[in-house]
């Protein structure tokens, strides 16, 4: 059963001090249903990513809460949690359910409120994605983990802090022309390198911001789209998900993300494509080094060559393989539990030809979302062409 993308929506990412987890998700969910031409009563399954709500809101049982406030009490609801890959897992689960013929309409998405609790509280909550005993107890933060990966990369290959900064420069430029993006200002290499150190060699502008936001997508079966006259223009092409060691220290090569390699291979097989077929990519650039590792794991660059992607313009919106035309996590923002579906929203707009940084003739788009430092990874592939 082919799965169609019937509607998508994201709230602007940024600070929403007057909103809440349940309100933000309702905003995105209703807009996605409107985009699809469907009603809340049509939703059969609801899967929503949320990572740190237990700590920030003192609220678990988030799936039911979101279904309740969306007005979809008839739906089977569940929160998915795979750290920063939570929403990508939600989308994958929704697509699998429809592909299996168990449901015709699934609302998938995610939501995170991160700005309201203060920086220390959110840093503490995010650290729960790492190995508590082997990493957090040693005082290792998330920027610290990626900083170690960056150090290992620069030690092994011919790359330096300027190559990392080039990733931020590209993504800030893309974000500045995306109205949903949290950061609306461009930067340059010098400004990145002059921004305060967070964990050497990473500076503040190498790191994604703290974001509130929600994203949602309505997935339907092809037969449902036909029967209800839905004019869908994007299809679900395939998906892969895999795991790796929870702690960075247990990986044979610190500068290699094996879960992403495994997930990508699985997704390419299922979508019956190879990396050369991909036209546009939204990937998990929580830190600049993460984009470099990702474009290597996804097969767009050889190992050690990813550092030249942004420097040489190959990953620019008009480059060989456009990456993060939305601004990515670095500029668009990273409400962790929403990010994976936020990426699908951006790719859907690209494949529909209505993206603010439109790529020419985009027919196959890919999202890559990483949980923690890479212990989980989801790769989802969309294709232009609907019911």
């Amino acid at each position: 059963m082919t799965v169609q993308i019937a509607g998508v929506a994201s709230t602007p990412y940024g600070e929403h001090p007057d909103s809440s987890t349940r309100e933000l998700f309702t905003d995105a969910g209703l807009e996605a249903l409107d985009d699809a031409g469907l009603e809340v009563g049509d939703v059969e399954e609801l899967y929503a990513g949320n990572f740190i709500g237990d700590q920030t809101d003192d609220q678990a049982h988030v799936g039911a809460m979101l279904a309740d406030y969306l007005g979809a009490r008839q739906a089977a609801s569940m929160r998915t949690e795979s750290a920063c890959a939570s929403a990508s897992s939600a989308a994958r689960s929704g697509a699998q359910t429809i592909a299996a013929g168990d449901a015709d309409v699934a609302l998938v998405g995610g939501v995170e409120m991160m700005s309201t609790g203060g920086l220390a509280a959110v840093t503490d909550a995010l650290a729960n994605a790492a190995d508590n005993e082997y990493e957090n107890e040693a005082g290792l933060t998330f920027p610290g983990i990626y900083a170690l990966m960056a150090q290992a990369y620069m030690d092994e290959f011919d790359a330096g802090p300027g190559d990392l900064a080039a990733v931020a420069v590209k993504n800030y430029e893309n974000g500045a022309s995306n109205p949903l993006s949290q950061r609306q200002e461009e930067t340059d290499v010098e400004s990145v390198l002059d921004s305060p150190p967070v964990a050497t060699p990473l500076h503040l502008q190498d790191c994604c911001p703290i974001s509130d936001g929600a994203s949602a997508a309505v997935l339907v079966s092809e037969s449902y789209a036909d029967e209800h006259g839905l004019e869908t223009t994007v299809s679900w092409a395939g998906s892969g998900q895999a795991s790796d060691s929870l702690a960075l220290q247990d990986r044979p090569d610190l500068a290699r993300t094996r879960a992403a390699e495994r997930a990508a291979e699985d997704a390419y097989d299922r979508a019956e494509i190879s990396p050369e077929d991909v036209d546009v990519v939204e990937l998990h650039d929580c830190f600049t080094i993460a984009e470099i590792l990702a474009i290597e794991s996804l097969g767009f660059f050889e190992r050690g060559e990813g550092a030249r992607g942004a420097v040489d313009g190959e990953t620019a919106a008009d480059g060989r393989i456009p990456v993060n035309t939305s601004g990515g996590l670095l500029a668009k923002g990273h409400p962790v539990g929403a990010t994976g579906v936020g990426q699908l929203v951006e790719i859907t707009k690209q494949l529909e030809g209505r993206h603010p940084n439109q790529v020419d003739d985009a027919t196959i788009g890919l999202t890559h979302t990483v949980g923690g430092s890479g212990a989980s990874c989801v790769v989802n592939v969309l294709r232009a062409g609907g019911a």
């Binding site: 220390a120 840093t123 005993e133 040693a138 005082g139 290792l140 964990a199 050497t200 060699p201």
Partner: protein, 122 residues
């Protein structure tokens, strides 16, 4: 803090650190595993671990989680032991450290648990 980590840290404190070795494939791992992460065999044997290791990567952390927020900046190191396992800890006794340098593992007892440390080996 989990009891298995307390046990692991106390063995370092006693000068008798240990790790797990797979009898099937030789893979080295850290507790508390039952299954070899490399070959899935369940024949993991506890063995003695060296007290020195080689620095693989390090980072100086300027912004931290609440528990360590008052101690920034500090340096976190991942070091590799000859037996094949790696461990994460904080640098002691030096202002900085480079990959390839030799360090000695230790632990410090903190209010709510144990912290792994590495110091340059003389």
């Amino acid at each position: 803090m989990q009891q298995w980590f307390v046990d692991f840290a106390e063995r370092i404190d006693d000068g008798d650190p240990t790790y797990l070795a797979c009898e099937e494939c030789g893979q080295a791992a850290l507790p508390p595993r039952t299954v070899c992460p490399e070959c899935s065999s369940r024949t993991l044997e506890e063995r003695s671990l060296s007290e020195t290791a080689t620095v693989t990567a390090s980072t100086k952390i300027f912004s931290s989680i609440p528990e360590y927020a008052d101690e920034t900046p500090y340096i976190v190191v991942i070091a590799t032991f000859d037996e094949g396992v790696r461990l994460t800890g904080q640098l002691r006794g030096a202002e900085g450290i480079e990959p390839g340098e030799t360090v000695t593992v230790g632990v410090e007892e903190r209010e709510d648990g144990w912290l792994v440390t590495f110091s340059p080996t003389d």
